[in-house]
Subunit: 420 residues, 2 copies
């Protein structure tokens, strides 16, 4: 088999550890020079392939590539560009194959969530039918933790750790001030459709009564009365109430609470997110003094307190993707398999892409307490191992040393440009 180059791209929302997967892919590819030539990375993800904007990672030093292990976000850029179905936009797929052909690319490593698993599968199928077969391997990544067939998704463990720690820290703050000041604190976290991240806030509690006292999941329809009653009870029992709220918290009829039609004086839709809305609700109903925080991108880029387990798994999946490719596999995704037994162990398995693409894994109902406001022991047993270990970056002058790559572009070979 003649030596082929590889294409690697980051897709969708970036994470604290997606670069660790990139590091795994590139370092492992460099060990297989007999089969894999250069690794080209898509500039800004898949649109880099469409535009023939390829980054030559062979220009990066060993230490720069290794620095990716401790650098958050997407070192080559990512994008939110979902390829349409082949029937809707065959030209895009054909363009991809043209670019791959022009640059002698035989391996496609796509690092993303459910959408990109689907794209990855289609590239594999279409390349076959177009007579230029590409081995397409999906490297899982999503803070939403909603991919099927893998026990968990790289990126999630670090967000979970950040949210659990932040919840505990903010709770200590509120607890020490509640006698005369803030009584209710609300932390809004990511997760539009699945409550995994909000659930991780539950790890802040060690014993009965510990914060958070209320978790709001997208899976549990929001009930204003119950919410207020629960907040009142917490303040009466503990002096304060900490709420971790998923941005995807919904009403019974499936509308996002944060988009409930509120307008400001100028007729703009509700500016704020969910947290200020819940805070106002608390104020109106109880008069309690409140504070709220919205972690937003801080939570998914917080490499400074990444989970070591998450970093290890992200790297291992990138490594495994290349090993699978070298073994001739196609249209697969390496995944995390949790060992049986009390002590947490994990290994790498393989899942066929047609079973991964476009399937969302929701929180099992039995991970959420019956009242809908907390996590069960079962949920805790699932979540706790994922935040183990602190993968600290190096520091210089009090700041983390994050790697910036040179990102030298590969000279274009195609005459045609392609508008994305």
């Amino acid at each position: 088999m003649p030596r082929k180059n590889a294409f690697y791209a980051q897709s969708g929302g970036v994470t604290a550890v997606i670069n660790a997967s990139a590091c795994g892919v590139i370092e492992t590819a460099r060990k297989h020079r007999d089969k894999i030539g250069k690794v080209y990375a898509g500039r800004n993800g898949i649109i880099g392939a469409l535009r023939e904007e390829l980054i030559d990672t062979s220009k990066e030093s060993k230490s720069a590539i290794h620095g990716l292990l401790t650098t958050p976000s997407g070192a080559f850029g990512s994008c939110r560009h979902k390829l349409k179905s082949v029937s809707e936009n065959r030209a895009e797929y054909e363009r991809l194959i043209d670019v791959f052909k022009a640059h002698n690319i035989g391996y496609f490593f796509y690092n993303g969530g459910g959408d990109s698993a689907d794209t990855c599968l289609k590239v594999s199928q279409l390349s076959e039918s177009l007579g230029y077969p590409i081995q397409a391997i999906h490297v899982p990544k999503t803070i939403d933790n909603d991919l099927p067939l893998t026990d968990n998704c790289p990126g999630f463990g670090s967000v979970a750790k950040y949210i659990a720690i932040s919840t505990r820290e903010a709770a200590l703050d509120v607890a020490s001030m509640c006698e005369t000041s803030t009584k209710v604190f609300i932390l809004e976290v990511m997760g539009r459709h699945a409550g995994w991240i909000a659930a991780a806030g539950g790890l802040a509690a060690e014993k009965e009564g510990d914060a958070p006292h209320i978790i709001l999941f997208p899976e549990i329809p929001f009930d204003r009365k119950k919410f207020i009653a629960r907040a009142r009870r917490a303040v009466k029992q503990h002096g304060y109430c900490v709420v971790v709220a998923s941005e995807g918290t919904q009403t019974k009829d499936g509308r996002f609470l944060a988009e409930s039609g509120l307008k400001d004086a100028f007729g703009h839709s509700q500016l704020g997110g969910l947290a200020p809305l819940l805070a106002q609700m608390i104020k109106d109903e109880t008069g309690y003094k409140y504070h709220w925080a919205v972690a937003d991108y801080l939570q998914r880029s917080a490499r400074h307190i990444a989970s070591q387990t998450d970093v290890d798994q992200a790297y291992a999946l990138g490594e495994a993707a290349v090993e699978l490719a070298v073994k001739g596999e196609n249209a697969v995704m390496p995944c995390i398999v949790r060992g049986k037994g009390k002590r947490y162990r994990w290994s790498i398995g393989t899942a066929p892409l047609d079973a991964v693409a476009n399937v969302e894994k929701m929180m099992p109902r039995n991970y959420i307490t019956r009242d809908g406001f907390g996590i069960t022991d079962l949920g805790r047993a699932y979540l706790a191992p994922l935040i183990q270990g602190e993968a600290y970056p190096d520091y210089k002058n009090g700041m983390p040393r994050y790697t910036t790559l040179k990102n030298e572009m590969v000279p274009k070979k195609l005459k045609k440009t392609f508008k994305v």
Copy 2:
């Protein structure tokens, strides 16, 4: 001199390192058993003294007290209770002295900001005139960094570190996604009157063009046109724009921007903070996709990434307060003195309380760039040393091991109760 007990109280908004000062006070007092009996801590700050709710710290083990060094927030509780002037509420001061007398308290260590420096001074003065002289020592603490006569304030360095790191991390996230997604990211930080914390966001930048591209200070009147123009320029030049905005950002006529009279459909005042308001402004004027975060309590409780310099100084000031008391000092505050020369050095000095109380130290104008949107090299030189070193807490099961004290109460001796 007969042995007297000491009273220690935490005042106002808590920080990541106020317990480190408590640790310094208690550990040092335990070394001076010949002069200092027990250290009683006010439950929820000064109102603990008024209510005769004293915590007996002698019941805590050596390791529990040492654990305070790595535990954020106020271990004994804090409060926002400003004592009125003596003429307005002499009863409160007399009550304090009664409680101190009943419990043989001769030392008053008050750990707080400008208001508590004032209270501390008054207690010293009034106790003298009431014939039960108390040595009152103020231990500085405030994330706002606005106390005079000390080079900086414990609590600030850790917030500064957190904000600088979070800004850099979120900026990497936005930079990698901006081609197809978010172009403007706004991080709202604390600081109602002084822009020290917002300024710390500037430490995220290492070279020209790095984020943050815009810092909004309370000291610089907000100019909508200039703000929008600057955001546009950053997006054009770099593809994205990161804004660090002080919650205290004001209009030219001194009104907080976040309280600018906006109402929602129900007539409620603006729910959100400054960040969503700025985001909407960006959206209206430019159409750029935005995201925003409000760090709120997360920033001041983030012990997981505290500045080692800050922790060291917080401890040293607690220690110095006790040493000053033992030497017979009164109505003073130990403070941080910055050494001369290029290499950062600090030592402990002493400031008289009458020069500290009720004086606010604002950001010097020459720490802010001429255009009002950034920090100068001078500002950077002041700020950078304060975030040096990472004072990591210990971890267990992936979570920081923060100390919870027993907080056993001292039996009450007074018959009278006092309503606070």
